[in-house]
Amino acid sequence: MSDGTETQSKARIQLRNIYKIFGKNPQRGIDLLNKGLSKDEILNKAKLVVGVSDVSFDIFEGETVVVMGLSGSGKSTLIRCVNRLMEPTAGQVIVDGVDVTKLNHDELRDFRRKKFSMVFQSFALFPHRTVVENVEYGLEIQGVEPEERRERALNSLKLVGLDGWGDHYPANLSGGMKQRVGLARALTVDPDVLLMDEAFSALDPLIRTDMQDELIALNDRVQKTIMFITHDLDEALKMGDRIVLMKDGEVVQVGTPEEILTRPATEYVERFVANVDITKVLTAEDVMKRPRPVAYVKDGPRVALRKMRESGLSGIFVVRQSGELVGHLSAERAADAARKEDKWVDEVTDREHVSSVPLDYPVRQLFSLCTSGNPVAVVDENQILKGIVVRGSIIAALSEANQDYHGSDESAPADASNSAGSDLSGTEDGVAVSAADAPAELSADAAEEKEANA
């Protein structure tokens, strides 16, 4: 997934000062908001509910933007304003240059057919239709021929791993499978934009993690622009190229997962982020992975180069025979040395620009060290290299550990603040860590591969 803030890709969805006020004479609510009244005051004074208040941000092509906030913060209302399942009280929604709010009834219908698909929290499968009939619904109402739409529906079922389930009724499926059907139904019409309103919130934690992984993998192939809603910070960190944090209908911060975690814009975000206080508990040791092939000081530059090439790395850590860390060697320097017929790696190793941290280094601070993109070495008190940490593995470990941990008490998905905050700060190190180990390593591998390819 690309990072919209860095690349010059074009904005697919532009939200401009969106307001949604519920009640009679909603316009008045906007006037009151402009006068500086709070949501509660407006509710008491004018009997108007402020759903969304002055929201503006862009979603770029191919980007996954996660909108998150506590229950009642206006996430569902906002996403429904995008395809006008709800009429915004004011503001513009511009999708590929078209102002959706200006479309008439028929134009809107055609626009929905072309541009959007939506996935719902409680799946919203049609119970009277079989799985495949559900999946082909979008094409059916567009008047696509039965054979073609059946074929395309079966293809999307294959895509989400539900081959052979087409003739079952939704009632016979488990929650995870139902949401796969919901996803397949959304993908069948090949929309430009996927709108997902808490698509995974109703699933139990393990299935939910699976679905998240699968959506990420799937999106690498189909490359959709996704607006994803969640009230769960871990999910947001994992899924989002960028995160939009909402409170009481307003946007409080827009940023990448790292920015949200490391530079919370307001106290509110900080409190939200504090729920991931697993960062305090987790240390470098918990999120590091096995040192990938290392170069020894007595290796020749060609050997080091080959090790890098074999594992697809752009740099390698250099250690003594004892395992003691010496420095880092980039592929560039190694190639240079090989050309100049330098004998030992030792001579060309970069000893200055290496970040190394002790085993008990808190993960929270690791973020800033990792932003350069270079991996960080983790060493013990004797400077022996014990592991390495890359940026991807931190985020992966955070979300996996956090999720696995409160997997058991996830029953009330309503409120992220009380599901995480207090109970996690009291966590014994051991519990969270052991849960983190395996998945973190897997995801970190994937992240590195991406880095190497880039």
């Binding site: 395809n83 399942l85 919203a124 499968l125 619904y137 109402i141």
Partner: protein
Amino acid sequence: MEWIPRLPLAQWIESLLDVLTDALAGLTRAISAVMQTGIRSFVNGLGGMPWWLLLLILVGLAFVLADRKVAIGSAIGLFFIWNIGLWDPMVSTLVLVLLATFIAIVFGIPLGIIGGLSDRFYIVIKPILDFMQTMPAFVYLIPAIPFFGLGSVSAIMSTVIFSIPPVIRLTSLGIRQIDHELIEASDSFGSTTMQKLLKVQLPLSLPTVMAGINQTIMLALSMVVIAAMIGAGGLGGEVWRAIQRLRPGDGFEAGIAVVIMAIILDRITQRIAARDRK
């Protein structure tokens, strides 16, 4: 409190009815004539059939529409009715019930759909339906006579009015109670209003609509019996005659036949509704 003048409500209603009957005389007479022939040919058709053939047909229908248990029960019940000599009145009552239900459905379902889709219409129609259902059944008989004369047409018309509220109400309700997310899902893919109605709203409200039809049939049956007072004949006519001649035995026999019919019709329509639910 003598000085408060009595509200002449009865007079008002009567003059309104007078005006209406005069204005609509041509129309009502035409309807009456057409329906009279329709009913007569129906009754003659079914009544002319050997009783065992009709019994077999009805039991067959019960088997196809419901299941074996209902079919066996129907066979026993219908045989009993024949045995106590009430076959012909039963047939004419059945014809009246089915015709009245048919008309009630033809008008009731579209009205119910509008009520399901439009809040404003629903708000208007809801108190009217409540009013219609709480009004004592007999009252509907009286105005029917000036419009359609004594006999089965008047009986059917008052039966339709009396029994139509449940179909309207439950059709509206069936559409209204559909999970809002399903409607959003349908909209989000760009369905037209008609596509949404035919592919989502109607199929999903079908079980509720069937429950409404079931209630309508039950109300129609009770009303058709009462309508014997204005010459509808059938099983109601038997009861009426028993009352006039003070013969409780005959009255109960006819009453039991009505109960049997009610059970058969109820079980069949309930089974259809249950099947739709699956």
